[in-house]
Symmetry: C2
Subunit: 728 residues, 2 copies
């Protein structure tokens, strides 16, 4: 076996062993049609499963013509997968039995574990997990709706009418699976590969399932309905790998407080800030969908259409009204409608009537009334325009022979064939909206058979174009970039943390700034004064530069309230006066405070306030935040998040993402700020946060951004008192 193959095997998900099982045990198999233990039998037997089936039921001999076995122990072999349909209390014992028998994986349907919030139920789940870990049995659930793998005829849900196909689906809501299956049956062009309900994720989590779907040859798009991640950091790592190879679509529920409240009472999942979750998922190349009725259309489009290179769309339309709607939606979604090239316009002019509009959208203005196939010709022409990444047909294609004259059907079918040709052999996606989609006329049925989606909603079609464009931009840029490296701690910086931990406190401002400075961040010079006798030297050192003086005491958190801050000080006399005032005021404010002295910092010039922060999310690990200061953060929550470490594109995209970006570009006569400097600062902070597990949180607030560079006015580091220092 070659090294490469070994490496490949090491990467391979262990889930293949039981998600495509050669033998299945149904624990709690039943002849009662209302029971899951019956439905699963039906799903396997009627679904044409070719592996061995072991119904476990001590009370009958045969179910649906399959011999039963009295217990797991009594089976003739250890099945690859066991479906456990019995109540919660029986599960830990059964897992133990499965383990002894050599069962590789178990699907546990029962609820009544951790999700109830009761300690005894959480203990039961722990027993289950302990048994599974002891024997190496992998567990799906508990509290799961089950699983299917249609390309192996494994249908443990016994869902009727589920077409095998390209969509892998992992969903914490069984109803959402049902909804997508029914929607696909009615309108969709796609079917499903593997479905799993991860339930409580006690053993296998979203990251494991995503890796499996990433490797699964039958899955072209991994689609996830998520109420809560358990190991978000690992999920992001897996997503970053998988998204380079195939699209990953995620709907994350709990976008509002109400939704989060409902989610907690459902599976007991922890839900972080929704906006942060969306940001870090997109950073990993995930196509985030924010409306539940867009999940299937987007997954379908990403599965079936060519990749787009970017967000530049050409619209071809036979009706001005719908072209306007399409333009409105495209613009709202951040897609572009660039002007078409002179050559494209000339080629269109050759085939269209004089009244046609050759701008983008192209409005054929009656040119297609007697020749609907001409729409396909227009699409082929605009698809060759170099300024265009994707092509969007909007209107009544497919319905011309219904609306105008029956003999137009022939030309519609010709048009459909030409569109199929373009979609298959062109290098740009062709997205089709037709108002006749609901009635499925022949030309649209032909497109359907050829695997070309036709959308019945302009809004859904635009969402598909948006997902294609975002993915194209991601693959063209960020996917290939390397994140910034962690900085190397120095003895001095490690000592800062050690001292703070020894003293059971967070960093003083000067220490936070020293940390930043040690790693190349430009921080204005400052001076710590322990004794008023040092003020003269400080006054000489800073000269005419106005200074701020701030009290230095771990016991005084709100320095201004304590009278511990004086601004705009120039010269020794002013400094001395400020010192006396600060010390008097702070001693009065908190007589027991241990006051070490004061910090002198130069006053920052006026500029644009921004905030840079680091925190450690319990789900996604260290995240960087960027926003404009003051009300933009506090009132509008207009901030961007990225998981650490960041690439240069990640950092740049944060600055471009915030609504208040226009202020950075200069308003009301002020000049644009130095975005490159801010991007460098974000990358430097990313490298620092990655290097120091002792750093729990960091706040640079405010940073004043200027047309040239920035000034860090205040810096705060919260120290994780428990983190072990790794001086290596």
């Amino acid at each position: 076996m070659s090294v490469v193959e070994t490496h490949h095997l090491a990467q391979r998900s262990p889930l293949h062993a039981f998600l495509a099982p050669s033998s299945i045990a149904i624990v709690g198999a039943s002849a009662d049609p209302t029971k899951r233990g019956y439905k699963a039998m039906v799903g396997l037997v009627k679904g044409g499963y070719s592996g061995a089936i072991y119904p476990i039921n001590p009370k009958t001999d045969m179910i649906l013509g399959v011999k039963t076995w009295p217990s797991v122990s009594a089976m003739p072999e250890g099945a690859d997968l066991a479906l456990i349909c019995t109540p919660a209390a029986t599960v830990p014992g059964l897992i133990d039995e499965c383990g002894r028998k050599g069962v590789k994986g178990a699907v546990i349907l029962a609820s009544g574990f951790r999700e109830t919030g009761r300690p005894e139920d959480a203990r039961l789940e722990q027993q289950l997990l302990d048994a599974a870990r002891e024997w190496g049995v992998r567990v799906i659930g508990p509290n799961t709706s089950g699983m299917f793998n249609l390309h192996h005829n494994v249908n443990l849900l016994a869902l009727a009418n589920v077409k095998p196909g390209d969509i892998g689906f992992i969903s914490q809501s069984g109803n959402m699976l049902l909804a997508l299956v029914l929607e696909a049956e009615q309108n969709g062009h796609v079917g499903f590969s593997t479905y799993v309900g991860p339930g409580n994720q006690t053993d296998i989590g979203f990251n494991d399932y995503l890796r499996y779907l990433g490797e699964d040859a039958h899955t072209r798009v991994a689609t996830l309905y998520v109420e809560g991640f358990r190991d978000g950091q690992r999920f992001l790592r897996v997503a970053r790998e998988v998204t380079t190879a195939k699209p990953v679509v995620v709907y994350k529920s709990g976008s509002t407080e109400q939704g989060r409240a409902a989610a907690r009472s459902h599976t007991g999942a922890l839900a972080g800030s929704y906006a942060m979750t969306v940001d870090v998922l997109r950073q990993a190349g995930v196509s985030v969908v924010q409306q539940s009725d867009e999940i299937l259309p987007v997954a379908e489009g990403l599965a079936l259409l060519q990749q787009a290179r970017g967000k530049r769309v050409a619209v071809v339309s036979d009706g001005g009204g719908q072209a306007t709607i399409a333009s409105d939606r495209l613009a709202e979604a951040g897609l572009e409608l660039p002007p078409l090239s002179a050559r494209t316009r000339a080629r269109l002019a050759e085939i269209l009537l004089p009244q046609a509009s050759l701008a983008n959208p192209v409005d054929v203005a009656g040119s297609s009334d007697a020749r609907p196939g001409i729409l396909a010709d227009c699409l082929a022409i605009v698809a060759e325009d170099e300024a265009i990444d994707s092509v969007f047909l909007v209107g009544m294609f497919g319905g011309y022979h219904i609306r105008f004259a029956e003999d137009l059907l022939g030309d519609e079918m010709r048009g459909a064939e030409a569109m199929i040709e373009l979609a298959r052999h062109g290098d740009k996606p062709l997205v089709i909206y037709s108002l006749y989609a609901p009635v499925k006329p022949p030309a649209l049925r032909r497109l359907h058979e050829a695997g070309l989606p036709v959308y019945s909603s302009i809004e859904h079609a635009v969402r598909v174009l948006s997902a294609l464009g975002e993915r194209g931009q991601y693959l063209a840029g960020r996917a290939a970039e390397t994140p910034t490296s962690a900085v190397s701690p120095t003895p001095e910086t490690l000592a800062l943390f050690a001292t703070a931990q020894n003293e059971g406190r967070d960093f003083f401002e000067f220490e936070a700034k020293a940390l930043l400075r040690a790693h190349g961040v430009a921080v204005p010079e400052d001076a710590v004064v322990h004794d008023p006798a040092e003020l003269a030297a400080a006054a000489e050192r800073f000269g005419e530069q106005p200074l701020a003086m701030k009290v230095l005491s771990k016991d005084i958190l709100h320095k201004s309230d304590a009278g511990g801050v004086r601004l705009n000080l120039v010269g020794e006399a002013a400094l001395a006066g400020a010192w006396d005032a600060i010390m008097a005021s702070c001693r009065a404010y908190k007589p027991a405070a241990n006051i070490r002295g004061a910090l002198l910092t130069p006053m920052a010039k006026k500029g644009t306030e921004v905030i840079v922060g680091v925190s450690r999310d319990p789900i996604f690990g260290p995240v960087l935040m960027f926003g404009l200061g003051g009300v933009f953060v506090e009132v509008f929550e207009d901030v961007a998040f990225r998981a650490i470490p960041l690439t240069a594109s990640d950092a740049r995209s944060m600055v471009e993402q915030v609504e208040a970006r226009k202020i950075l570009e200069g308003v009301r006569g002020s000049a644009a700020v130095d975005k490159d400097a801010l991007v460098e600062l974000l990358l430097a902070v990313s490298g620092i946060a990655e290097a120091y597990p002792q750093l729990a949180e960091l706040d640079l607030n405010p940073v004043i951004a200027y047309p040239d560079g920035y000034a860090i006015v205040d810096a705060r580091v919260i120290v994780n008192q428990a983190a072990v220092i790794q001086p290596d």
Copy 2:
């Protein structure tokens, strides 16, 4: 005839005479199946039209068994309606002929008029209009897709499969009509009453059609797809009347560029925007839809469901995942999920399993698995809760017998009957989402037959709940309120306008403030100084109050740039110094400037900057704008608009609408501002703007809002030089 009846007739739309015609002429009737003149014949003959049909065609004797006439003049009588299918150039002559014959209304299909942008085509449209006005012929179009009135079997579009029903539809896009008809055919529970394509609106505009639909007994919801209003002010007046009687749904595409181009002030620049259009339509009680695929679901819901009193929704669900999605969408749409009363919870607990969640959303948690009809019982219970305005069922109702056991169908049907009972006889709307809607199982078909919509998208269902809630709140409050009255101009205020017009200039700041003061608006005292000798008296008058001094010259627009502003002046010496500096600087800046002196105003205390403005939109007339100052207006365009005159609720809702409202409520330690005072200011400005047609634009920018009252720091009035003064 009684006075009341006379009044009623006076209100009645003249469109009834030809939108429900007793006889129809088809000018350009044809036997060629590809021609509109053939299709219209088919639509009438096959559609069972019972009135007289006069096909006009000099070349044949008979079309579809109907005798033709060689010309309009040759008809035996003047038809109520003429459909003109011939080219643009023929139209003015035909209208003249129709007028002489006594035809009441004409539908003109041809394009090639004003919409081309060519002067000769605009002249042709004017000729058409002149002929129509001369004879009193009312014109639909030109450039229209046509019309139908299905309750009178008038189907000039010859659309197949259009079900007669409750939705009146006026659309500037014929494709949008086709799309809605096909959507209704597939999924909808509704049909259509009257459709008209208003085309160029050369004679009849949206306001006329809306009045007609408001009066039409067959129309329960007036639905409009609008690319542009011609007389928006009149439309708002009609909408305000119609919306009190029946719902009006508007989808507005694009935006009016005219408003922006004409603007000279901040307010003007932001007016004419799409956001302004949405605001003023909502003010008139219109249900504005912003996604094209929500038009039919919303119209359907408003047509078929009970009215809601407000926005408080109870959700009943059989699946936690979809309850979470519903909660997210409801919260995003500004709907509330209040807790259920103790009594409601107790009643639910009696019929549900112990694991059910009795919060809102109610999650029956398996209680319905064997008894799906229990969902209807839950809906009936929560509908009786006084804290609830509407009831929302989310889940798999209708599919239980498919998913679980066939014998559940009976209980599903029982549940359907109970839901129908609740929907018909309850006083709250019941909105149903079912993931089984796409497959139309028996219980959902039963609901369908009973006219109860079942939505296949949670998002669309929530949009319906939102429209119901908004309409409920509107009817409960604003619909009944009287707008504020115009103020009465005084000789002094009229003289201000007369002087400015005589001098060909806008108001000086002190004049704008005098106008406001004259109508009871609190404006800080100020003083105009023409000569430095007056400064001593001014210094004495203002005492220790710090003053701003601003140059007074119609030739200096940018006072700060000219060095024409000095701040924080106290005492005669400071005033004298400032005067000299300002005069020297301004003379240097613009030697030819006519400088009248300077304005002294007290410096305002710090507070929250807001902006209040008036502009005259070319479509919607005078509009009031409110927002927070600075970047909130200039960068975020976070402003609210209302058409003038405003009601007190309109004014209050402006303050509540802006995103930055949280700042008004006090952030970062600052106190909440006096919203009541701002509301009074908005109403006062509304009354002033209404009273003076000479006032083209007004900007109060900034107004500083305080916990008690406000201070108007700067005021600008742009004078309409052409407006006639009406000193009445």
